[in-house]
């Protein structure tokens, strides 16, 4: 009896580890394969069975990428875009979240609900007028034109309100007020230091979503000089005869910094998903 039981147990265990390992391998394979292709000549693509080991064209393929697009310029544009948007969103969200969590003013709840309602508007609805608005303002082909839409982040305000009302007691605010601190001083000296962990989560959510956003960047940025990395990478695939080694080299080098950052901070990344999605 005991033996049968333990055998059954180990069978389900094997099944479990097998399934998880398969899922891990399938998740990792495209990353590995992107690396393999980035180190091989395009001709390697014609071999059957497909090549699965790295070659020696890592540098050459990347040089071909540099002939096609301004890779570093595009990475830089994306970085600037994300850093500015993240900082602005953190400030807007924490100020508004602070006000919604700790202040009393008429219409507070209506305003808060209005902000939440903007979350359900699909971004495509305003796309065309937004394009003309940006064009009118002379912001086509500028990062400012891309940025301004991303400053709207209702989720950020929601998360900050939740976090501030949960982590900062009313007594603390009252005590600071009795000491004569202004609202802004309270925000700057008391609220900000306490909500730094929430900044990390929201910061990751904002940064990654802006980094990967495509439709709006693709619409506003037409001049290759102003391309972000997403638009630049997409342009690599826009020819009739694509050099796969070159293409994968571009994708590989654009992805690797993110992978490293993710591996270093994976707990924060994963927590940001549950914070961002589940709390709302």
């Amino acid at each position: 009896m005991k033996e049968v039981g333990s055998k059954k147990f180990s069978f389900s265990k094997i099944l479990m580890y097998g399934f998880l390992t398969l899922a891990s391998l399938l998740s990792l394979f495209p990353f590995y394969w992107m690396f393999v292709m980035a180190t091989r000549p395009s001709a390697a693509y014609n071999s059957i069975p497909p090549t699965l080991t790295p070659g020696n064209m890592l540098v050459e393929n990347f040089q071909k990428v540099l002939q096609q697009i301004d890779f570093f310029g595009a990475m830089w544009n994306s970085l600037i875009l994300c850093v500015v948007v993240t900082i602005v969103v953190l400030l807007i969200s924490s100020l508004a979240g602070f006000a919604f969590a700790k202040f009393k003013f008429p219409g507070k709840n209506i305003l808060f609900i209005a902000i939440l309602l903007t979350m359900i508007i699909p971004p495509q609805l305003g796309l065309i007028p937004q394009y003309f608005l940006i064009a009118k303002a002379g912001l086509l082909d500028t990062l400012q034109g891309v940025m301004i839409l991303s400053f709207l982040n209702p989720l950020g305000i929601f998360l900050m309100r939740q976090y501030i009302s949960g982590s900062i007691s009313d007594e603390l605010i009252e005590a600071a007020k009795l000491d004569g601190a202004s609202n802004f001083k309270i925000y700057w000296k008391i609220v900000l230091p306490i909500i730094l962990p929430a900044f990390a989560t929201l910061g990751i959510i904002v940064f990654t979503s802006v980094w990967g956003e495509f439709l709006w960047q693709f619409t506003v940025l037409r001049d290759p000089e102003m391309y972000t990395i997403q638009v630049a990478l997409a342009s690599l695939n826009n020819t009739f005869k694509v050099d796969y080694g070159m293409l994968m080299s571009g994708v590989f080098w654009a992805t690797i910094p993110l992978v490293i950052i993710f591996l270093l901070f994976n707990k924060l990344f994963i927590a940001s998903i549950t914070e961002g999605a589940v709390k709302s």
Binding site: M16, F19, L20, T21, A23, S24, L26, S27, L28, P30, F31, W33, M37, Y45, N46, S47, P49, P50, I92, L95, A96, F98, A99, K104, L111, I121, P122, Q124, L125, L127, I128, P129, Q130, L133, L149, L152, P154, I157, G212, F214, L215, I229, Q230, A234, N237, N238, T239, V242, Y244, L247, M248, V251, A254, L258, V259, F262, I273, T274, A277, V278
Partner: protein
Amino acid sequence: MISGYLYVSPFFIIFFCVGLFPILFSLYLAFQQWNGLSPMEFVGLDNFKIVLTDSLFWKSVYNTIIMGLLGTAPQLIVGIILAFLLNQVFLRFKQFYRVTIFMPYITSMVAVALVFSVLFSNQDSSMANYILGLFGLDPINWATSEWGTKIAISLMVFWRWIGYNTIIYLAGLQSIPRDLYEAATIDGASKFQQLRYITMPLLKPFILLTVFFSTVGALQLFSEPTVFLGQSAFTRSEAMTIVMYLYRDAFRLQSFGTASATAVILVIFIAVLAAINLYLTSGIGRKKKRGAGK
């Protein structure tokens, strides 16, 4: 208190300029004929008529729904299984599995689409066709055929989002108190009964959440097919989605009136589908509760 208004004002100021105004203008534009240069001309419901009688529009609706279902529905099942396994107390290498399964999510949609465009190319030597060959199947034109494109695009959506959904389900499973299971075990409930009467009902809000996100996200599919198809993105119809149809009308054909009409129709679709799936999923929950009551 003035600072209250002051602190919430940045959002509203930006929203009025670049959010609300464009939305209202879209509604206006949907009733105009406009090429972006010459003066607008009021055409009543003509734009809607043009879009709704265009077979390419309905093709894009069909494509969007098929790819949406293929790309997201299997995630629900696989995601729950993965989360269930990752939640086992005795599981070793938990962190490794969690990190690797989540990793695809950090790649941008453009990067994913490009990698998949190479994995799933028309050539006989592409990885996808090689694997089909191992099973004795004929190669598929992944970039040009009706089902090839849809399956490749659905697979990339699946690959990128499965980790995200798994993490949400895992958070859901971890929110269920362990003593519920212990009590059920003592009462003699089988593992399956525990899954049916404890796990599923308590996981329901998390499932609702992912179903809602997936539905809304699937209707807005744009980057993956556009980048995957590259040169032929706006000329071929096999994988054209509603948003691609809209984009093509606006920025390739300079027909901003019909594009705005499409945007309005899309929003109605999203609202209706979101309402339907909220209704359906909450219906499932109710049935389950009644079942549990018996």
